[in-house]
């Protein structure tokens, strides 16, 4: 595996996460600059690791759980950088880079475990299509999760009227809600397609829709149901705010369990 670069990427991640706390709590502009530089560095290193991995396996490196986590961490970081630059929301640095770092760490640890490659079939492309959609969808839901967490923290502080000064360093409630909702709007269709393509792949491989233990499919469908309900309530009824944030977090938790239920 071309993962020699990953330890360096992880070091960049961890220092950046530390600086993120310094930057947010200590209002240090220098820490912010350091944070964004290191995250950009981690982004580049991880991209290089992915490309190298692709060269080594001679194809698109998204065929097993290690590769999946590697790509997922990278996409989450990409989305975080996008939100930072386009929406000027820096506070998500307390949540998204740690998530991305954990995923990358997982990729590094799984690398030790020998995982059989996906059987060479004519539908290999279909499988890669499935994993790509799932990666992008889960990463978008990560962003929704982060914004929901910040929203809940803010809501609580505003209600209890304490820790109000910390708030000034966070995006407004409105911004959290808006960005989080947009992330769900992107994540949900990707999740839907990811599930459908996954079911089709099962059918192709085993002749059944649901695989051996079915946990992955179950959690995927649960996540899908939560977000479907959330979107319906939001679009039809204007359901938003705290409960919407809780639902997003629940849906995200299910989506994460899909990863744990993966067989390879």
């Amino acid at each position: 595996m071309g993962l020699l670069l990953l330890p360096f990427a992880l070091i960049a991640y961890f220092v950046a996460i530390f600086l993120s706390f310094v930057g947010t709590l200590g209002r240090s502009a220098a820490a912010r600059r350091g944070e964004i530089s290191l995250l950009s560095l981690a982004w580049l290193l991880q991209l290089a690791a992915i490309v190298r991995q692709g060269q080594l396996v001679g194809g698109f490196p998204l065929t097993n759980m290690g590769e999946y986590l590697l790509a997922l961490g990278w996409v989450v970081l990409t989305f975080h950088l996008l939100v930072w630059f386009r929406q000027h929301v820096e506070a998500a640095g307390l949540i998204l880079p740690p998530l991305a770092a954990l995923m990358t760490l997982g990729a590094l640890l799984l690398h030790a475990r020998a995982i059989p490659p996906v059987p060479e079939t004519q539908q290999r492309g279909w499988f890669l299509f499935h994993t790509t959609l799932a990666t992008l969808g889960t990463a978008a839901l990560c962003v929704a999760f982060a914004m929901s967490l910040i929203y809940l923290f803010q809501d609580r502080a505003l209600k209890t009227k304490r820790k109000l000064r910390v708030l000034e360093r966070l995006p407004s409630l409105d911004a959290c809600d808006r960005i989080g909702f947009h992330a769900v709007l992107w994540g949900f269709p990707l999740l839907t397609l990811g599930i459908v393509t996954g079911l089709v792949w099962n059918w192709h491989l085993h002749g059944v829709l649901v695989g051996n233990n079915g946990a992955k499919e179950l959690f995927g469908l649960l996540a899908w149901a939560v977000f479907a309900l959330l979107l319906y309530a939001r679009l039809a009824r204007g359901f938003r705010g705290r409960k919407s944030a809780y639902m997003t977090i629940a849906g995200f938790a299910f989506a994460l369990m899909v990863v744990l239920g993966m067989s390879r």
């Binding site: 803010q154 505003l158 708030l167 939001r234 938003r240 705010g241 919407s244």
Partner: protein, 443 residues
Amino acid sequence: MLVLLGMNHRSAPLPVREKAGFSEHELESVLPRLAGSGPFREAMVLSTCNRVEVLVRAEDGPGAAGALKDFLAEAKGFEVADLDKYGYTYQGLDAVRHLFAVASGLDSMVLGEPQILGQVKRAYALARAAGTTGSIVEHVMQHCLAAAKKVRSETGISRHAVSVAFAAVTLARQIFGELSGRTVLLLGAGKMTELAARHLVGSGASRIVVANRTYTRALQLAESFGGAAVNWDEVPSAMQRADIVVTGTAAAQPVVTKADVQHVLAGRRGRPLFIIDIAVPRDVEPSVNTLDGVYLYDIDDLQQVVDANLEERKRAAEDARHRIEEEVATFERWLQALEVTPTIVSLRRSFQEVGEKEIERHRRRLTGLSEDQQHAVEELTRGVVNKLLHAPLRHLKEAASAGRATSVAKTYREIFALPEGEPEDGDGAQDGDPIRLAGGRES
């Protein structure tokens, strides 16, 4: 030397400050008069409702502070004893330090308030327009404005809202982000609701809707904001459309109950509602705050926010004073360099003259040499002179940065019998040239 005579909200009661204050119109004539009288060469006056500060540069020598007091006493009809009682006098770097602190908001009634910086800028502009600033005051002021900006942005001295109305705006921003496009509903058309509305509009809120028991008053206030007035029984539907509600009626009982708000929420499609209750007794039932997406702040809540922020500013003031000390030190180094510059110039000239004179004296004995050789002799002399100068010049510069300029410069003048006062520099040192200025200080 710089002399500053001033009085502020702590040193003098309002009637005295009023009496001492200058209008801009007055300053147009007072500034030139001040800068042209007695030992004074430059002048600037800062006059606000909380303070009067008169800054002058005077020729060195005793009595500058006394002369300034006499001038102000005469201009404003004070006894000099009154000025001693209500005012304060700073000289030299103390004056600079005080001015830096004033511009940074450290000396303001509300710690760190931003208006004073604009007022200092204005005072500086007025003095420039009146032509009463020379390079010393110019330099003090430019350094002062830069230092004040730095102190404000790099310490917490100006951070966090310290008025109730502004705390409300900060909270509104925290909920809604930008306030543009937001609707504010005022319940009650009193002074306090009006003030809060002004702040919200000033921060970008787009629409104002006013409801009051007497409709005409509501209409009056609404028109002053270009907003709309509604009847009291239309309040629920107005609240459904509003983002921010400010209540300040004189009602003895709550006029907005939890049930009212609950009812309103049903039609809001989950948009958050920020309610600012500045009435005493309160207009809104406190339990409204438990409703999802509703943020209720009463006057005590806002006051607590303000108090906490003021505490924060006090802590930051400590830091700000350190910064100002650093800035004063930087300014002092500039001033010191200014003080040794004429000595450096005289010393260099006096050494060079020795060399040139020696060459002239031996000119005749050099005629036997070729032109090249003559040049070589001149080069050699210059080289010796420069080598000899090297150590004392370095010592002078080091003394200047160590803050011992005046005494060391004096020693050098005595040892090398340098001329007192301005070096006779033929090529027209302009006013503003540090050499000439510093020379002027000596005479």
